[in-house]
Amino acid sequence: MSTLANDPRLIAGEASFRGIVATYRRRISSGDVGQLPVIIGLVVIWSVFGIASGGTFFTPVNLVNLSLQMAAVGTIAVGVVFVLLLGEIDLTVGVMSGLAAGIMAVLNVQAGLPGPLAVLGGLVAGLLVGAFHGMWITRFRIPSFVVTLAGLIAWQGVLLFVLGSRGTINLRDPFITGLAGTFFTGIWAWVIGAGFVVYVGGTAYMQRRNRVAAGLSGGPTLLVWARTAISAAVVALAIVVLSQDRGLPLSLVLLVGLVVVMDFVARRTRFGRMVFAVGGNAEAARRAGIPVDRVRVAVFIMASTFAAWGGILAASRLLAVTQSSGSGDVLLNAIASAVIGGTSLFGGRGTAWAALLGILVIQSISNGMDLLSFEPAIKLTITGAVLLTAVTIDALARRGREQH
């Protein structure tokens, strides 16, 4: 007997279906709502648009479009999740995406650099900008909101300067356009899907086996099978539907891949633990010997670099970089995605998957309203209302936790 499972209040170890349900219900009632509201919201949104559009929403061509639309902002949102985990904000991710795309376009089209090098140039620009933000915030103890608000204005100016008098640069490089223009069909799509399912199921299985071998409660085997089966079903359905049109988009695979890697970083590595600790209680983290400022700088570097990568994906899809690249609702949607997906604005709570779930919600609403030819006035109002709802759920859940 090497667990503390003797406590009658402890239901978590119960290896039955009832135990799982009871644990989950207790978590929700104690304010840990997790991903439940967003999944319910997604079902509602899909049902509404599916019916209202007369089924057009669920056609393969529209779902492929939806995947392509999601990739860029979803990638940016992954970085935003980490910034929010720290309890900070980065308002420059929108303009940074445009700036990186602009630098890539200039390097490729005007300086004649090969596509991969031009993309690398854009990413390095993101890295440097993030390092600048992070160091300015930590060195001078200025709130990230103010530093990145200044950046929001300044980097927009730099983008205009980079693009020069032409204003628009069209992209023809096959590597760059291939990022959003490549699709996996047939066997390749299935190999990638299978790889994902094996990863999800395999990690759950290995984790349980290690815990049981160490004499800890491993949780129900049922949960491992359920996780594997659900992810297999979702992946198979997605591949079947997407294959009826152009196929599984490379940019979607890249987004999901990024989410999987960053989820591992957040939950399983020392760095991820440090990020959560700094977001939860920075002073406690400092006293525990965590290099708080270095963690902050690293996260701002990540956010800007992912923003740059997202901007490059967006440029690849639009085949051009313009003066308005990365402006408009890119910033709002990236932050909204992270928050709607269940990342707390107050720091210390969230997962990398929030970015994917959140962008799925945001882009589904946007896509659905486009199908129904809504006015921009209505689109903006509804998107704002959804964001407000998500933040309110977070605030209420937070209050629920504090009462316990």
Binding site: T3, R9, L10, L216, V265, R268, T269, G279, A288, G348
Partner: protein, 287 residues
Amino acid sequence: MAVSTRVPLLELSGVSKRFGAVQALTEVRFDVFAGEVVALVGDNGAGKSTLIKVISGIHPADAGQFRFEGRDVAIHGPQDSASLGIATVYQDLALCDNLDVVANLYLGREVGGRGPLGRMNETSMEQRSIDVLRRLSVKIPSVRTPVESLSGGQRQSVAVARSVLWKNKVVLLDEPTAALGVAQTHEVLELVKRLRDEGHGVVLISHNLVDVFEVADRITVLRLGRYVGTYSAATVGREQLVALMTGAVPGEAANGEMPAGALPPAPPAWRADSTGPSAGIPGEVGR
């Protein structure tokens, strides 16, 4: 064993600390032996918390000698203090509410993996967490519970458990029972006794003299940043202690050391009971 031959785990003398215009500590001395609880008492502004911060290296002293297990040492920062084996449990807990018990116990010292992107060994951390909590009889529903959903006493117990997970020799507790209920206070004081029985030197800061008398072997009194005296908890009375804390009567250190204008040293009858660190320590005899 004769008390005089034992070497204190930690011994300070002549410690002074100034914050701008405020002389927070003046020529303070202090010592703690292995396997004993020394309470540090004094009114607000007496310098208790400052002394703790000096020992833990958060605010290094301006002057003073430090000896650890008889060796002369220097404490210039938190790393120095930690590497000697001195752990501090702060008043404001210093736990991350959003992380679970295991993550908090191992915060900053995670097991497994190389570098910041190495994979942590969660099973090993969880096993050791369960072991240490059981050894200290800390009762919590699950080590995977986020700290925010624990009671105040459980949270304090987790903070204390963290300090002994790392083979520390001296544990500094800053107001561990402030803001705790009766049962929870009892829980934490029992934990303090277990630390002592395991051979740790425990330094306890508390405003609550009931708590102090329940667990302390010796009591060191500070007043206005100065050392007043150290007394055996078995022999000093509660009223005496209050009088010493408020300055109504001078302490043993007063002989010739009192600032000008203070009361003349006129030892009252109970003065004979008091003992200094250089004299015999009744609380220690026979243990």
